[in-house]
């Protein structure tokens, strides 16, 4: 008899050291974790069967996230309320599954992503925070990788894909909150914000003795600006 499977969505966070895991490494980690946790999942058919794992838009290496999604398929009779704990027992401490549920939406419905960016540098000030906000009101040209040109690079204005950006200075830190496109065609990597600060405001953040920036994806939204589930 062919077993019947149901789709289950896992929402998880990856913070701390886990931010340096690439998407490929995350994929491999999750595969072994599911086995360790004895969570049975459907495998692809064919010569080299692999577990069916579908991730929502991955964050880039270095970015933390509170809202990563992974769809798996488990046998119909699985009690999915037990899955988060089973997985968390077998995950490295910096990855935590927050919930498991039967999804009603599709990853394609994700349109926006919200990021908190924290910047630490001795040159920060309230004035710089104001300049940062002002910067993104006019075109911001960033060099992007492309297959379209011979050099492999192309200048792009990133502001059409930034819907909101606020910057506040407080206690030696600059806190940036931004809402950007998370759609396939216009996807905006939040690292571009850091690049723009370097290019337009001369904010070099490469010295580990004085500077740090962290990027955290805090939420993703659908077209209707409601939290994606």
């Amino acid at each position: 008899m062919v077993p019947v499977y149901k789709k289950v969505r896992l929402r998880f966070k990856k913070t701390g050291n886990a931010k340096f895991i690439s998407h490929l490494d995350l994929d491999r980690t999750m595969k072994t974790v599911l086995t360790r946790a004895k969570v049975k999942v459907e495998h692809t058919h064919g010569y080299n069967p692999r577990p069916y794992l579908v991730f929502s838009l991955p964050t880039s290496v270095g970015t933390e996230s509170l809202c990563e999604f992974l769809d798996i398929k488990v046998p119909e009779d699985t009690d999915i309320s037990l899955i988060p704990e089973a997985l968390n027992r077998n995950l490295p401490p910096d990855i935590r599954v927050l919930e498991a549920y039967i999804p009603e939406s599709d990853f394609k419905e994700i349109k926006y992503a919200e990021y908190d960016i924290t910047v630490i540098s001795p040159v920060l000030s309230e004035e710089l925070a104001e300049k940062t906000e002002a910067l993104f009101k006019a075109p911001v040209i960033i060099e992007k990788r492309t297959k379209k040109t011979e050099s492999g690079f192309m200048d792009c204005d990133i502001t059409p894909n930034i819907y909101r950006l606020t910057a506040k200075y407080s206690d030696g830190k600059m806190l940036i909150n931004t809402l950007v496109s998370a759609e396939n065609a216009t996807y905006m990597n939040p690292e571009n914000v850091i690049k723009a600060l370097d290019k337009y405001l001369d904010l070099d953040l490469s010295d580990p003795a004085t500077c740090l920036y962290t990027v955290m994806r805090v939420a993703v939204y659908t077209n209707e600006k409601v939290n994606f589930m």
């Binding site: 050291n17 340096f20 491999r28 980690t29 086995t35 360790r36 495998h43 270095g62």
Partner: protein
């Protein structure tokens, strides 16, 4: 304040340095009595794949009052950053700096030896007897520990070693290798650390036996891991299952020097297949002898099923295969290829070495001829697949190694190696043969280092000071740099690589007793020159001497007390 993350964002693969993996052991450093920094001299991805590291990390951390942390060599981009910001190299677990060099070597298998070393340290610390010098003196009395500073070396006028002399009367004159007597009761790492990033071997390594019953005369591993000890297949099956449940890996590699010689192979593979297939776990073998390659293995072992088959005849003619004691006939190679072709394969890969003792140009030609016979064999196989066969021959340069029958041999000169490589190229005039060969330059440097003595320390130091790193990685290997280092340090590479030693010369490694006796190596060398072969341990004990180390060995005769 120092922001490590800012630095990590500027190097390749930051996951090499972060730690925090599942299975990492974290202890309170203030509460333990003995701390180890287990340093592996290569990158994280290689070190994490090493069974020995997994094993010793586990065995040391088993003791609650002992804390073992891991250290890997930083890649050159990370090293640059560390130097730029004046940072120390740290362990993965707690970030403790490393400072000193080697004081002591643990010789042989470490599962029992290293915990004893921890105990000695803790005992001396507690009783107040501890000083660096007193500790090293005591350590040198533990079986299997070599403390170089406690052995004086003197040299003859011609640069050869005169003698090794212990500084104290109460430490052994030679250091005997440690072995684990019964592998069935030994520690097995069933809960290794699970790396975040992709490593060289992301799989379960199941060590099924130690040592090798074959007596290939060029092979160091085949000698220094003797006596041959097998593990119980039922136990292995249980350990594999437990490790699978703890790791979630989907591949099990049956590991040993010659896996097809393991007497429990059928029972083990049957046992494994009873649960691995349904869990979609593949079984792989790292090495296979052509004479043991059968239809049955082909069906059971996924790596055999799916990848290109690789055999290692090592020499092109029967005469030379007898000299090196490979004990493999052309017919056996061809038979294995026929099985492979009949099962639908079109490509095989053959490994050879050039530069074996007594080699002539006929033997070089023999390599190409053996490849041609394999091609003919393809066309003679009735149910062969469609298409053309491809035989890849991969040819390395022989490097004489300590603790082998060929430890006295001079290596071919670079010119000779290059001539032989060209000669072989001229015989490989068939498009169905793909001829790969290794650079001879690297094998000269390896030959110097493989049989070096303490005089080479200054070369190693200079290499380090000149910023040479990761020389085993082709992108960093610079032959010219090595040659100028030798000159700078007044070292003649030919003295170490190309010089034939006299059989009664004191060899730098005579200070170590690996179990196999020097007289056995001498006998084997004489037989090599006569073209006589020696049977494997399974057929007949050749009296290598390793049985004196004891242990649960299937083949070794026990020593009469």
């Amino acid at each position: 304040m120092f922001y490590k993350d800012t630095l990590l964002k500027q190097v390749l693969k930051p996951g090499r340095y972060t730690g925090g993996e599942y299975g990492q052991v974290i202890k309170d450093a203030a509460k333990v009595k003995c701390r180890w920094a287990f340093a592996f001299p290569d990158t994280y991805e290689i070190g994490m794949s090493n069974l020995g590291v997994r094993l010793l990390y586990g065995v040391l951390n088993k003791d609650d009052d002992v804390y073992c942390e891991r250290v890997y060599a930083p890649w050159t981009d990370m090293e640059e950053q560390l130097i730029k910001y004046g940072l120390p190299l740290t362990s993965i677990e707690t970030g403790t700096p490393l400072a000193d060099f080697f004081d002591v070597f643990s010789i042989g298998e470490g599962e029992e030896a290293l915990p004893e070393f921890s105990r000695l340290y803790i005992k001396m610390k507690k009783s107040g007897e501890y000083s660096r010098a007193a500790f090293l003196h005591e350590a040198a009395k533990l079986p299997g520990f070599y403390v170089p500073s406690l052995y004086d070396v003197s040299y003859n006028g011609d640069g050869t070693v005169k003698e090794y002399k212990p500084v104290y009367g109460d430490i052994p004159e030679t250091v005997t290798k440690r072995i684990i007597g019964d592998l069935n009761t030994a520690y097995y790492p069933d809960m290794p650390v699970m790396p975040y990033i992709e490593c060289v071997q992301d799989r379960i390594t199941l060590e099924i036996m130690r040592g090798c019953i074959r007596g290939c005369r060029f092979c160091q591993a085949g000698m220094i891991y003797r006596p041959v000890r097998e593990k119980d297949p039922v136990l292995l099956n249980e350990q594999a299952k437990r490790t699978y449940e703890n790791t979630g890996y989907d591949e099990i590699s049956l590991c040993s020097l010659s896996t097809s010689d393991y007497t429990g192979l059928r029972e083990l593979t049957d046992g494994l297949l009873s649960w691995t297939d349904e869990n979609m776990i593949s079984l792989t073998l790292p090495s296979l002898r052509a004479d043991s390659f059968t239809d049955e293995l082909m069906k059971k072992i996924s790596s055999v099923r799916t990848s290109t088959l690789t055999f290692a005849p090592e020499a092109g003619t029967q005469r030379l295969r007898d000299v090196i004691n490979k004990n493999l006939t052309e017919e056996e190679v061809l038979k294995a290829c026929r099985v492979a072709f009949a099962a639908g394969k079109t490509a095989v890969k053959l490994y050879f070495m050039i530069g074996h003792p007594t080699e002539t140009d006929e033997d070089i030609k023999g390599i190409a001829e053996l490849a041609k016979s394999v091609i003919n064999c393809f066309y003679e196989t009735e149910n062969r697949p469609k298409g053309k066969p491809l035989v890849t021959i991969s040819v390395a340069c022989f490097i004489p190694k300590p603790f082998t029958a060929f430890q006295w041999e001079g290596q071919n000169t670079l010119d000779e190696y290059k001539r032989k490589q060209r000669l072989l190229g001229s015989f490989c005039n068939d498009r169905r043969i793909k001829y790969n060969y290794h650079d001879a330059d690297g094998s000269l440097i390896e030959a110097v280092l493989a049989r070096g003595d303490r005089k080479l320390c200054k070369v190693m130091k200079a290499a380090c000071e000149h910023g040479m790193r990761f020389d085993a990685w082709t992108e960093y290997f610079d032959f010219g740099k090595w040659m100028s280092l030798f000159e700078e340090c007044d070292i003649d590479p030919a003295f170490y690589a190309n010089r034939e030693r006299s059989v009664d010369e004191v060899l730098p490694w005579d200070i170590i007793d690996c179990g196999v006796t020097k007289s056995f190596f001498r006998r084997e060398r004489e037989k090599a020159y006569k073209g006589e072969t020696t049977e494997s341990c399974a057929e007949n004990c050749a009296g290598c001497g390793a049985n004196k180390l004891g242990g649960e060995c299937r083949w070794c005769p026990s020593i009469k007390k």
